[in-house]
Each structure stands twice: as structure tokens, then as C-alpha cells.
């Protein structure tokens, strides 16, 4: 009996310890210290940049074993903003995002491979324009620590290249513009 209790207590302690190391973060969209941007070549001559203004998400960060971390992001597709109303309207329409049919895009991580020096490959499923596809975010930790207002924050950047056709977006923008690079700058506030 004594043995059983100590075993149970040990297991409890262990699970508690493991639990304590996984920090839960809410992406700071209230203070907007997070940015989801995209860039795509225009005709092959320059970069066109834009961003999504409305998104939300959480991540778990395991300080002992970063590979045990997780992230979820949900983006409202209608919030696309490339600083040009007619283009934004076109991007929301049937040639591109079809936001009335597919109002949200989501990313859920499935596994994280640490590459050392604060770098990691975040594998996950991106759901965009009705297509679920495995993508890999090339992520780098920027920093973490106390903020001046009594909270604790952690931030990272990540990029990934998407091929528009893979997500059923077939509008012909020319051979130099078949891929779009997504750039995420995420800051989370520890809960």
C-alpha cells in the first residue's frame, strides 16, 4: 500500500512537473504585437506585400522540450489588406480567397523539429480556401521575458512558401507569381 501511494505521488509529481513546464500563450492581438504578412512577386520585377489584420491564436511552449510545443492560428480571410481597395476586393473574390465561402484559414501544428539555436521546423496543417495541406514553417525564436507591465511574453518569427495552385487558387498572375511567401511575427502573452 505504501509503495502504491508513493508510486502514485511520484506519478502525480512527475505529471505536475511536466505540466508546469508547458507554458500557455495567447497571441497578443489586443495590443497587436503580432503580424501575419504575405509577399508575392509582381510580374517578377518587385515584391508586393500585404497582411491579414484579423486573426487569433494560442501556443504552448515547453521550456524543457521545445519539440513538445504547439501552435494554433485562425485567420479571418476577409481581413486581407494590401493597401489598395480594388485589389483587396479582387483578392477576397472568386479568383482568390472566396472569403464568403471560406471565411477562415487555420494552421494547427502537428510536430516540431528543433534545429538548435532557437530555430525549428513547425510542421502542421494549413486549411486555406477549402484545402487542408501539410506545410512546414521555418521558425526562429526572437526572445522571451518579462514585460514592463507585469506579464511575460515570448515571440518568434516564421516563414513558409505556399504554391497558390496547391490551394485551388488558379488565377494566372504570371510565372513569377505562382508562390506566395507567408511571414508570421508572433508575440504571445503567457496566461
Amino acid at each position: 500500500m505504501k509503495k502504491l501511494i508513493s508510486l502514485f505521488a511520484g506519478a502525480l509529481l512527475l505529471s505536475n512537473a511536466a505540466f508546469a513546464e508547458v507554458e500557455k500563450y495567447q497571441i497578443d492581438v489586443k495590443g497587436m504585437h503580432a503580424f501575419i504578412e504575405f509577399k508575392i512577386k509582381h510580374l517578377g520585377y518587385s515584391w508586393l506585400k500585404g497582411r491579414f489584420n484579423d486573426f487569433d491564436g494560442q501556443f504552448d511552449y515547453d521550456t524543457k522540450n521545445p519539440e513538445n510545443s504547439k501552435i494554433n492560428v485562425m485567420i479571418k480571410t476577409a481581413s486581407i489588406d494590401s493597401n489598395h481597395a480594388e485589389r483587396d476586393k479582387h483578392l477576397r473574390g472568386k479568383d482568390f480567397l472566396e472569403v464568403s465561402k471560406y471565411p477562415a484559414a487555420t494552421f494547427k501544428s502537428t510536430k516540431i523539429i528543433s534545429k538548435g539555436k532557437g530555430k525549428a521546423d513547425i510542421h502542421g496543417v494549413l486549411s486555406l480556401h477549402g484545402v487542408n495541406k501539410e506545410v512546414v514553417l521555418d521558425a526562429v525564436e526572437i526572445g522571451a521575458g518579462n514585460d514592463p507591465w507585469g506579464g511575460y511574453r515570448r515571440g518568434f518569427s516564421a516563414t513558409t512558401m505556399l504554391t497558390l495552385k496547391d490551394f485551388g487558387i488558379n488565377f494566372n498572375l504570371g510565372p513569377a507569381s505562382e508562390q506566395v511567401e507567408m511571414l508570421l511575427h508572433i508575440e504571445g502573452v503567457r496566461q
Binding site: A78, A85, E86, D88, K89, R92, F171, N172, L173, G174
Partner: protein
């Protein structure tokens, strides 16, 4: 036979040409390939001609409100007078709604519309949530609806000309 005043007739036919022209230009320009040489030119023409039509329509509306309407022909039946009046009001409202919504699409990002490189019509309203999308839907569907009433207007004019053999159409020529 007394015709409509010459400026009424001129502005009527000019707006008829522009309204129908803009409708088909609008349809066509949306189907253009990104690499078409018209991809930027066609919308530019569409916007500038749209604003030209807006000033013409404003002039017509002022003219119409300031001068008494021409009396209906004596052979016009009461239901014809009533129906034609309703169609005319709908045509005016429809055209203005399309013109204003079109302007609201283009200027939603607080950028004006340049006219012939000479001056710019400034953006005035930019604060509506998802302005370009809502204005875009209004612009599209009211344009389809307007074309139905344009059709009715034409059918009415032809009915008077061909079936009733009266001067209804002739006094606008």
C-alpha cells in the same frame, strides 16, 4: 409635334449610350486576363466615364426637378403614365446607386480617382466596414437590375412607336 428640349434629348441619349456602354465595359473588364493590355486601362476608363456620367446625371436631375415635366400625350392611358413614371424614377435611382457605389469601391482606400491626369476626385467616405466589398455587391446587382428596367423602358418606347403608332419615341429623337 412638340419635342423635348434639345438639351434634354442630348443628355438623354448621351446617358443612354454611357449607361449601356459602362455596363458592358464593366462586364468585359472583369473577365480580362491579368496580362491583357486592357487590364488596367479598362477599369480606368470605366471609372472616369462613370464620373462623367455622374455629373451628367446630376445635371439631368437638377433640370428635371427645376422644369415642369412634359405633359403625357393625350392617347396615353393612366396605367401607362403611372408605369412609365415608376420606371423613370427607378432608372434615376438605380443609376445614382450604381454610380455612387462604384465611386465607393474605388475610393475605399482613401485614394481619389484621377481624371485624365488633370485633377483628382477625392475620396470622401472610407469608414464603412468592408466598404469595397459591400459597395461591390451593390454595384454589381443593381447594375443587373437596372438593365432589366432599361429593357422595360426600351420595350415601352417601342410599344408606343410600333403598336400605338404615337409620338412618344419621336419626341425624344
Amino acid at each position: 409635334m412638340s419635342k423635348y428640349p434639345i438639351n434634354t434629348r442630348l443628355l438623354h441619349w448621351l446617358s443612354a449610350l454611357l449607361i449601356i456602354g459602362l455596363f458592358f465595359l464593366g462586364l468585359w473588364m472583369r473577365s480580362l486576363d491579368y496580362y491583357s493590355s486592357w487590364y488596367q486601362t479598362a477599369p480606368n476608363i470605366h471609372k472616369q466615364v462613370g464620373l462623367l456620367l455622374l455629373s451628367i446625371m446630376a445635371l439631368r436631375l437638377l433640370w428635371r426637378l427645376k422644369t415642369p415635366a412634359m405633359a403625357p400625350l393625350t392617347n396615353h392611358k393612366p396605367w401607362e403614365i403611372k408605369l412609365s413614371h415608376v420606371v423613370h424614377v427607378i432608372l434615376y435611382i438605380g443609376v445614382f446607386v450604381i454610380l455612387i457605389s462604384g465611386y465607393l469601391i474605388s475610393t475605399a482606400d482613401n485614394k481619389g480617382i484621377e481624371i485624365l491626369g488633370l485633377f483628382e476626385v477625392p475620396a470622401l467616405i472610407t469608414a464603412i466596414e468592408q466598404q469595397e466589398d459591400i459597395a461591390g455587391l451593390v454595384h454589381e446587382y443593381v447594375a443587373y437590375g437596372l438593365m432589366a428596367f432599361v429593357g422595360l423602358h426600351i420595350v415601352g418606347a417601342l410599344k408606343h412607336h410600333i403598336i400605338d403608332k404615337d409620338k412618344t419615341l419621336k419626341r425624344m429623337l
